[in-house]
């Protein structure tokens, strides 16, 4: 970094030092004769070779500065999905010892009773989550994600929990209300949760387990699952308590790692641990307990459970827990159009996401909310692999391009599942997706894409007004100047530049806080209108100065028959440069007017849509 700073400083000084001799005359380089009156020195006196050297220095400076910022913005590449990097298994001996100590502490407390429920909620969240409502709000540069989970806990697990939990206390079982540990989220290890808050049904803050307490539950649950998976009757003398602990240490290395672990490393480590436990898959068949042990390790090798503490479990055994977090979505632009949008200070209009929570819940609602100044333009559910748009009846059909979708399952209780529906577009500023029965889907490569547009008239109206003003003023001044406008006032020059001032005001002061600023047409129109207005103002001043210098009337410059001969425009003769400016301003006006009319009509059509009963999936 020091070299970058030194290099950029040196190059910057060089550019500054060479700029004067490259373009300006040196003070001592032009000495007028004493006899002659002092003549004005030229403002610019470019020296070709010096200019070339100066330009090379500028390019080098830009390259160095750009490289510096680029190197700062480079992110660490994630582990390859099929890599064999085992550095993630660098869990220290003291960490593993602590995990075993925590396990021993759990065995001496009432926490063991919570393990079956913990395991069940980690591995099969879809069995307990009856409804998940996810709201994604686009607020400034960040996205706020609110999730509300409604759960119905298993009676069998609750009873075990209460009876065994009470067994560690001397108080009557009816009066014991041990804490319930409810995993509400298996957070991927590559994620860092930002601004995370958990609340209950009454909007009270809910505590979550710290890392050490979570490790305690994990290591205790692991031991329980290992014991459940061990062969009941075996003569294998290789299965010893030491071997079991070695296997658990291997498992814990995967699960306690803070880094994501590649699938191959997970598989190899699990196989090594299974050898200590005498667990061998015969003809690809393994017992349910072994499968659950394998899945428990794999799930927690890739994710960390966020466990809420519920002090009083209601008699209904139903829970409602909400959490929210903020995230900053990445935005990559490769296409010229998107590059142009970013350069003009605009932002994407589309949000894509995998509705992953639909696969962990019986029913799922997703709302993607844009600011009030936006309306929903497009909402589609697509296959991640082939990009094919899915509809209510096509989720399961064969796709194109070799993409095979699952076949539709037979209707259950008269309801075909999986089922999804999108709320019809009626000019609202949010998309609403409802999904049901996706937990059992084997193919889970589904994404939702939502696009938003600016509610008309918005900045398009500002652009239209600016364009109209620009056309009127340029036409008026052009006609007047050609007709012999007196040059005793600068008011026309000031008037001509007004649209440029308006363009900068309308274009860059509006919706600065919105994450989805969409009107590329309006922004381009404002910029073009501003440039044309400024050009007209400059032209008016320059042409007036030339007229005064030559002593000719502006209206008579240049003489007919040469370049600049007055050209007829709508029956009125104007100078050719005014014709060019009027033409540009008019094209700009027509373009933005058409855009405004088309978008306003499209929005109005959305507002007039009527409800259609039994409609198919809304697109």
């Amino acid at each position: 970094m020091k070299w970058f700073k030194l290099g950029s400083a040196t190059l910057g000084l060089g550019v500054l030092a060479l700029a004067w001799p490259a373009f300006m005359p040196m003070p001592w380089g032009h000495v007028p004769p004493k006899a002659s009156p002092p003549a004005p020195r030229p403002l610019f006196d470019p020296q070709p070779w010096t200019v070339v050297i100066w330009a090379l220095l500028v390019v080098a400076l830009i390259t160095v500065i750009n490289h510096r910022y680029k190197s700062q913005a480079t992110t660490t590449l994630p582990l390859p999905a099929d890599g064999e990097d085992t550095s993630a298994l660098d869990t220290s001996i003291s960490d593993l010892e602590r995990a075993f100590e925590l396990r021993a502490e759990a065995a001496n407390s009432g926490k063991m009773a919570a393990l079956p429920m913990f395991i069940s909620l980690v591995l099969q969240p879809e069995k307990s989550r009856t409804r998940t409502v996810e709201t994604v709000s686009l607020e400034g540069r960040v996205i706020v994600q609110d999730v509300r989970i409604e759960m119905a806990l298993s009676d069998a697990l609750i009873d075990v929990f209460r009876e065994e939990g009470a067994g560690k206390n001397e108080a009557p079982a009816d009066e014991i209300h041990p804490e319930t540990y409810v995993p509400i989220l298996n957070c991927s290890k590559r994620e860092m949760i930002d601004n995370f808050q958990v609340r209950d049904r009454e909007d009270r803050s809910v505590d979550i387990l710290c890392y050490e307490e979570t490790v305690q539950l994990i290591s205790s649950s692991l031991h329980l699952l290992v014991h459940a998976a061990l062969p009941k009757a075996t003569d294998d003398e290789n299965i010893t308590p030491d071997g079991i602990d070695t296997a658990e240490a291997l498992f814990l290395m995967l699960m306690c790692s803070n880094k994501p672990v590649s699938d191959k490393t997970v598989e190899k480590t699990i196989l090594a641990a299974f050898a200590h436990l005498g667990l061998r898959t015969r003809d690809g068949v393994e017992s349910r307990n072994v499968t659950w042990l394998r899945e428990f390790v794999k799930t927690l090798a890739h994710s960390t459970p966020v466990v809420a503490i519920v002090p009083d479990l209601p008699e209904t055994r139903r829970l409602q827990i909400s959490y929210c977090r903020t995230t900053i979505p990445p935005n990559k632009s490769k296409q010229l159009r998107h590059w142009l949008r970013l350069m003009l200070g605009l932002r994407p209009v589309t949000l894509q996401m995998v509705p992953g929570m639909a696969f962990n819940s019986k029913s799922y609602h997703l709302q993607v909310k844009a600011p009030a100044s936006q309306y929903l333009m497009e909402q589609t559910l697509r296959c991640v692999e082939c990009g094919q748009k899915l509809s209510g009846s096509e989720v399961e059909t064969d796709g194109r391009g070799g993409c095979v979708h699952l076949q539709p399952p037979s209707p259950r209780n008269g309801h075909a599942e999986p089922y999804f529906q999108l709320l019809r577009k009626r000019g609202q500023n949010y998309a609403h997706l409802y999904m049901r029965g996706f937990a059992d889907l084997k193919q889970k490569n589904i994404k939702i894409s939502t696009s938003f547009g600016e509610v008309p008239p918005g900045t398009l109206a500002s652009a239209v007004i600016t364009a109209v003003t620009s056309v009127l003023l340029i036409s008026a001044v052009g006609f007047a100047e050609t007709g012999g406008l007196e040059r005793d006032s600068d008011i026309p020059a000031i008037l001509l530049v007004l649209p440029a001032v308006a363009a900068s005001w309308f274009g860059f002061s509006s919706d600065t806080e919105a994450i989805l600023r969409s009107s590329l047409a309006a922004r381009c129109s404002l910029i073009l209108g501003g440039f044309v207005s400024m050009a007209a103002s400059v032209l008016f001043i320059v042409s007036g100065s030339l007229a005064e210098k030559t002593g000719a009337e502006p209206a008579s410059l240049p003489p007919p028959g040469r370049v600049g001969e007055p050209a007829p425009l709508l029956g009125v003769e104007v100078r050719w440069w005014w014709s060019v400016l009027i033409y540009l301003a008019s094209v700009n006006l027509v373009y933005v007017l058409v855009q405004s009319i088309v978008r306003s009509n499209a929005y109005r059509r959305l507002l007039r849509k009527e409800t259609v009963l039994n409609e198919n999936t809304v697109i």
Binding site: I93, V160, D263, A272, T327, Q352, M353, V354
Partner: protein, 82 residues
């Protein structure tokens, strides 16, 4: 579309070339296949018995024995790297 046979995480949208598109990565880990139900957890007595067995097993382990197992596990991981 590839049907994932192994139980791995659902692929994210990273390879989707999201030009000019905000991509919200899923926060929650999702298996790509369904886990079969475990009858053991539906049997209260079996679960209680297993819990007691687990507790007893944990309490019989001494710190020295555990340390030896951890050392062996770490040596084994070193072997996996070779």
């Amino acid at each position: 579309m590839k049907i994932l046979l192994s139980r791995g995480a659902v692929s994210i949208l990273g390879n989707d070339s999201p030009d000019g598109v905000y991509v919200l990565e899923p926060i929650e880990y999702v298996r790509s296949s369904v886990l079969p139900d475990n009858e053991l957890l539906k049997d209260r007595e079996a679960v209680k018995s297993l819990l007691r067995e687990t507790c007893d097993s944990i309490q019989t382990r001494t710190r020295d024995k555990i340390f030896g197992s951890i050392t062996r596990a770490i040596a084994e991981v070193e072997g996996l790297r070779v």
